[in-house]
């Protein structure tokens, strides 16, 4: 009996060590990635990096055109994706007794798990194959990736708005739709902003759908019906190129992208802090 207990105790200690080491194992690549991106990326960063467009081989250059292109593409994607996401989030939260809401929520969950490259191919067939590789096609694909994220966070944050507030507004004779738009939405504002930020952080790092809808563009933005340069995609193209100055730019772009995403995540943490405490 005693021996059995000693074995159980040892097993218990061993498992505790194993569980902690699983966390440590998962953290090693994270720290390695962050460290390498910071060290190698820092070398690439200077004034030219922010002011010049993609260089040709051996010349000085930067990521100015990629920042411009990325901002425009993300902006257009948000214009398409955010309203759809917020409206469906409102529907799921305010009309959750509707027969539609369960299947819509399910499809949303499934859509959020789709490979982004497939969404990209969809954007290609529907848009790029007609009007050519373009910012529009890329933004459309990225918008589809945004929708389930925005929908879900909108729904969750609106549900946290107390029912009493809705009832108070309705009792004042304010119509339901006005109550939703002017009172409920206002209450869930923080959560919705969080959702949009989360979605932006996600699509800022997407390169596969951009590759198949917009291709590669080395120059400045020249119209929504033409391709534009993209930060995430640049990392791929620069990384597999044999040129030293492009590889340096790849690390620089990665640092810029990670800082952007890190900034957004910290912003989200700050925004949601009150919610969990």
């Amino acid at each position: 009996m005693m021996d059995n207990y000693r074995i159980r105790k040892i097993k218990d200690r061993l498992m505790r060590i194993l569980l902690w080491s699983s966390l440590i194992i998962a953290m090693i690549p994270l720290f390695s990635i962050l460290l390498d991106v910071f060290i190698n990326g820092a070398r690439a960063i200077n004034i030219d990096f922010f002011l010049l467009p993609t260089p040709t081989v051996g010349e000085k250059g930067g990521i100015a055109n990629a920042i411009q292109g990325t901002l425009i593409t993300l902006g257009l994607a948000s214009i398409i994706g955010v309203p759809i996401g917020i409206m469906s989030g409102i529907f799921l939260s305010e009309y959750h007794d509707s027969k539609l809401s369960q299947p819509v929520r399910f499809i949303n969950d499934v859509l959020s798990g789709f490979p982004s490259i497939v969404v990209g191919i969809f954007g290609y067939v529907l848009i790029a194959s007609v009007i050519g590789f373009s910012v529009i096609a890329a933004a459309f694909s990225l918008a589809i990736i945004m929708i389930p994220i925005v929908t879900r966070t909108t729904e969750e944050s609106l549900r946290m708005v107390p029912v009493a507030i809705r009832e108070a507004a309705l009792a004042l004779g304010i119509r339901r739709w006005k109550t939703i738009i002017f009172i409920v939405l206002k209450g869930g504002r923080k959560g919705i902003v969080t959702g949009v930020l989360l979605a932006l952080a996600r699509i800022a790092g997407e390169s596969a759908p951009v590759l198949v809808t917009m291709g590669y563009w080395r120059w400045w933005f020249s119209g929504l019906n033409r391709p534009a340069s993209n930060l995430a995609l640049n990392i791929y193209l620069f990384a597999i190129s044999p040129f030293e100055n492009w590889r340096t730019l790849a690390w620089g772009s990665a640092l810029f992208l990670i800082l952007m995403i890190l900034g957004i995540s910290i912003l989200i943490r700050v925004l949601t802090r009150g919610k969990y405490e």
Partner: protein
Amino acid sequence: MKSTASFSKIAYLKAKIKGDEIFRLVSAFFALTTLLIVVLMVYELTRGSWLSLQKFGLGFITGTTWDPVFTLNFGALPLILGTLTTSAIALAISVPISIGIGLLLSEYISKRLEFFVSFIVELLAAIPSVVYGLWGIFVLIPFLRNNVYPYIQAVLGSLPLFSGPIYGGGVLTAGIVLAIMIIPIISSVSREVFSAVPLSQREAIISLGATKWETCKIVMSYAKSGVIGAITLGLGRAIGETMAVTMLIGNKFKVLPSSLFDAWYTMAAIIANEFTEATSDIYVSALINVGLTLFLISLMVNVIARLIVWRTLRLVKGVSRG
């Protein structure tokens, strides 16, 4: 007098209902766009693959040649195998680690530390695929090639799986990076299902004189189906992961690689690697057909995963409430 009053009341009510009704319909319409998108996706992907579907039919899935230059024959079996193999390697590595993290978060760590650890796990999820690829090419590949693979080969080299030349990139490398990339999703979903296990279950076993680990075993067996759901979600991610794999697997079309160190291809990687350079219509159509196949496989995996996770969470919550 009285009748006018009630008439205007009815008109007022009607207007009120109208505004609300319109708003309800508008938001329902937007909610339905996601459904519409999925339907349209099936239609458009089928339309885009039509040439290929006509020419190869179901043979596309069993075909083992990929010749965009001379015969224009396309078959996707090796790509499907490549996708499944790399995903299986990823699961084999990440599942024990992720379940460990899930247990740690739900059973061992205090609330305050949990906030910090889950932030770190989220960061791992927030790093873009291309950055994993970049890090893979310049940091992980040299490390594995010089410090890991030779030792694996020294020990297990007699097995065909671990024989042959070591390039650094290849099937195993792609699997390792995929594993790192799917740890966040599996660990966060398993944490969620572990936390949903009623406290009364833990107390029952603790009061019988169970150790912490024995309590964890009860929690795991209670949440088993949810963990399977979490793993299936991870599988869905691994199957569709594109850029990091494209940058690390070596991109060689072959029926089977000679070993785990050899180069291969996946469905997602071939699309990323060849799509912008596809010259003929049938070539583009074949690549879209690969996309359609990937879509269907991941649709299946995702639907199954979501159903399992949904059902378990509802079941578990139902039990604890009832």
